[in-house]
Amino acid sequence: MTTMQSSDGLALRIENKPGRTHDAAGTWREPVRSRLAELVRLPVGWDGYTGVPVKAENARFAMDLLSVTCPDAMPAPEIVPGPGGDLQVEWHNETVDIELHVRGPNDVSAWRAREGKEEELRLTDDFAVVSLWLRHFASAEGEIAAAAE
């Protein structure tokens, strides 16, 4: 287990994974950057009520969290804004759903549904479980792609 310091000084504890550098360019990075940039510029009232744009600190934290937990082979997630400046990062395939609700920096509700079972965890400084979930998801995606070839 390693505790990493993000560019914002946020403590992110993740599992060691030999042979992987966190700066490697995953294909999800640019779509995520672009979507986050869009969400921090949403107009007030974007949800039809009093929703505010995604807070920059939450967008930065989400990017840092993905940088240390998301395998390069992962598909780009969907990113959905919340009305209070929060956001949710989501991956779905035919059998697994993963949702990371970033309420604030180091305040994440992580939810996974797989094979009829649901898990929900409130995470503050140890995101190893997210790393594990995403590796499983990426691995399953790789198997699906290989089977389709």
Partner: protein, 142 residues
């Protein structure tokens, strides 16, 4: 409708007695809430559409249909036109059966505005399953 309880942060979480079990509660759906759904091959509404705000006293914003009707306005038009591309509804009794409270929270811009306080994080997923289109978004599941 009786005025809601409030403090300097806004309307306090409450269950308004003037909102009865068969009243409909409308939730506007922004295009920002739509995600791809690999299972159906189409698109659907994210669970994020059914979460509370993290500001003030929280709550999920809704429109109270009966108040809109009493004002002589078509709720489907009020809650969706022109920018909010769709809307879903729930029965008040159904929301309460999930352990949620429904309050009245009028504003100068929206005198028919209410809030739903979820009480538990699982309530948002239950609401997701219970949502029925009021004004559907084409090719999107609720």
């Amino acid at each position: 409708m009786q005025p809601p309880p409030s403090d300097d942060k806004g309307v306090l979480p409450h269950d308004h007695p003037g909102i009865v079990a068969d009243d409909l509660v409308i939730r506007r759906i922004s295009e920002q809430f739509i995600v791809n759904d690999p299972r159906s091959g189409g698109r659907r509404i994210s669970s994020m559409a059914y979460r509370e705000s993290s500001t003030g006293h929280g709550g999920m914003s809704v429109d109270l249909e009966r108040l809109i009707l009493e004002a002589g306005i078509d709720p489907r038009v009020f809650a969706t036109t022109p920018r909010w591309i769709g809307s879903v509804y729930f029965e008040a009794g159904q929301i309460r059966s999930l352990g949620c409270r429904i309050g009245y929270d009028p504003s100068p811009d929206n005198p028919y505005h209410g809030e739903v306080w979820l009480g538990a994080s699982k309530a948002s997923r239950s609401l997701q399953l219970a949502a029925v289109w009021s004004v559907p978004i084409p090719e999107v599941s609720p």
